[in-house]
Amino acid sequence: MSSTTSDVNVSYLDYKGKHSGLLGWITSVDHKRIAILYLVSMLVFFSVGVTFGFLMRLELIAPGKTIMEPQTYNAIFTLHGLIMIFLFIIPGLPAVFGNFFLPIMVGAPDVAFPRLNLFSWYLFIIGGLLAIASIFMPGGAPDTGWTFYIPYSIRTTTNVIPALFGAVLLGFSSILTGINFVVTVHRLRAKGMTFWKMPLFVWSTYATAWIQVLVTPIIGITLLMVIVERTLGVGMFDPALGGDPVLFQHLFWIYSHPAVYIMIIPAMGVISEVIPVFAQRTIFGYKFVAGSSIAIAFLGSLVWAHHMFTAGMSNTAMIIFSALTFMVSIPSAIKVFNWVATLYKGSIRTEPPLLFALGFIFLFAIGGFTGLIPGALSVNLNIHDTSFIVGHFHYVMFGGTGFGIFAAMHYWWPKMFGRMYNRTAAKTGFWVLFTGFNLLYFPMFIMGWLGMPRRYYDYLPEFHIYHLISTVGSWILITGLTILFTNLIHALRKGEKVTERNYWNGETLEWITPTPPYVFNFDKEPVVEAGPYEYKRNDVLEPALEEEKA
């Protein structure tokens, strides 16, 4: 693990450590290598999740049975949710890009606890494999939905326990990553890197890390309690023994709502990086964008019961939770306005990362507004558990976080691998994906409003047209994904070589590292003097401004 300085001034990809080949990767404590491990495993899980989503949509193309039995359908939507949430969206940005870029962006050679970091990845893999293995074990794949609602999750005979235990391990992996990031930000910032000089991706990952640390233990204990209920029948959630199933829902959402912000805040961080760089302007309202991440993290922990307006609660509680839900939208709106204001009068380059960032803003705005609708109590009763909700969270999670992940990939891919992808193909992929996305999820709002329940295997003929459009949309979306990923993977071997350090002209610390970064990231110790987006010597804007004055 230790070697002299001259040995480590090579790209982390070429570094010859104690082990070589695959072993050199899965025993490496280098945060960049661990990030790549996460990236590969996450994309494998993602492709499984996409396949399940595709099959689900195919089943729904027409009323009645199309390709599978109802029980298979139940298992497929359960695993689609489990995989996408716990194995793609949650680790997508913090574990992959947070791991890779958080230490670099604060000017550190690695995270605070490199060995713990590797351990987190092992927990992640074991948890993920357990969740996948639950499909194949005798007893049948879990069919509870990713929410594991009581009482069904106690009564079903399917393999709920392996899936639950897998989710617990994934939770611990997430906690350990969170602790690592918090300590890294507090202890390893480079000289001159004050909190108000940290890049916004660092701010958002830092806010996310706190949520991971503070709420994930709750899901851990809740899922463990379900395991205890299933094996011993203690009765904590069982009305027959005096327990209360609604208590489970509270405990579940105390984690799972903040988890939504674990998913979205890092994506907002990526957008806050991409927009200033491709507008070549400093970000509008830096402190507000940074502070709004913390505000979302805080307020987002107080709104969980808006998932339960139909489950039975006092009116006072419902009104308070509804009001808090509306308040969460304020910091999100602050971000959106500041991004748009940053673009104003910027010298905009429509490179692929910016396209994804703009896609994020557009889709997240729709997802955000349709989130306010079920936040209103009276309307909630009407659309609770309908496909309106499915449409809403796919717009936020896929249109938001998913597009954020793709933006990050296209923004940092050359820095990570030293190869540039084909930009035309990336743009084409974006437009195909964007079209397919809206065709797939927008009809869900309409049919949900008209009364199509979520998670149903069969439906009335009047919903047929919407389901048909949606399924066709899923094919277009998958075509878009295929174009994007083929392009990125192709670039690893055949892409144009990039050695230029600052190929997008960014102002954050990752752009002063070699491309790809050295084993300890920097070839000289970084010292920070200016803020992250101060385009002081901007030669495009200033003449234009002078002209305007004259």
Partner: protein, 209 residues
């Protein structure tokens, strides 16, 4: 930055930062408290719903056993703290002695717990038993929580024992020494957490009768 470069001019990913390690440990302990908080919350809800039944059920628990275990755990917290003081003064064998004392007391706690649980189970009080069903909802939940919470705490005691055993081994190998003992400190913090959770479990289950 300078932290990652050791005296010989070599670089490593893992670097020494005692304050950072302590910060990390405190955060981890906080997550452990939150883990238990889910159960404490459940306890609070059902104590509120079934106050009389909880009161009656608590009478069945043996306060003497509980008090004895409380004394054992508190004393073991003292010995682990002493072992840290000892190693900071370079007294290797004294530190090892105190660590072994801690492990011995943890073992005593578990033995006590074993007899206590077997007595309860012998009386037919365990989740799903007929005796418990006759006692009604409140008592069923009380004992359900009793087994779940003390069980999870017991698992933490065992983890703590394994951790301290590892520390003893490292102290013996002098990987933990007067200069570098942040690991022992962290293990000590963990052990205090195990202690403090018990401090709350004891009144909630034994003293509310």
């Amino acid at each position: 930055m300078s932290n990652s470069t050791s005296a010989e001019g070599t670089m490593e990913h893992a670097h020494r930062d005692d304050a950072g390690s302590r910060l990390g440990m405190w955060l981890f302990l906080f997550t452990e408290l939150l883990l238990f908080s889910g159960l404490f919350l459940t306890y609070a809800v059902y104590k509120f719903t079934y106050p009389d039944e909880f009161h009656a059920a608590a009478k069945e628990l043996n306060t003497l056993f509980g008090a004895l275990n409380t004394i054992i755990l508190l004393t073991s917290s003292l010995t682990i703290a002493l072992s840290i003081v000892a190693i900071s003064r370079g007294q290797k064998y004294l530190s090892i002695f105190f660590q072994l004392m801690t492990i011995a007391m943890a073992l005593g706690f578990m033995v006590n717990k074993y007899f206590e649980w077997s007595a309860k189970i012998g009386h037919g009080i365990y989740p799903g038993s007929e005796t418990l069903q006759d006692k009604g909802h409140g008592q069923t939940l009380f004992f359900g929580l009793y087994y779940t919470m003390t069980g999870l705490h017991g698992i933490h005691v065992i983890v703590g024992m394994v951790l301290i055993a590892l520390m003893t081994f490292w102290t013996w190998k002098e990987k933990i020494n007067a200069d570098t003992f942040v690991r022992l400190e962290s293990a000590g913090l963990y052990w205090h957490l195990v202690d403090i959770i018990w401090i709350f479990l004891f009144p909630l289950f034994y003293l509310i009768s």
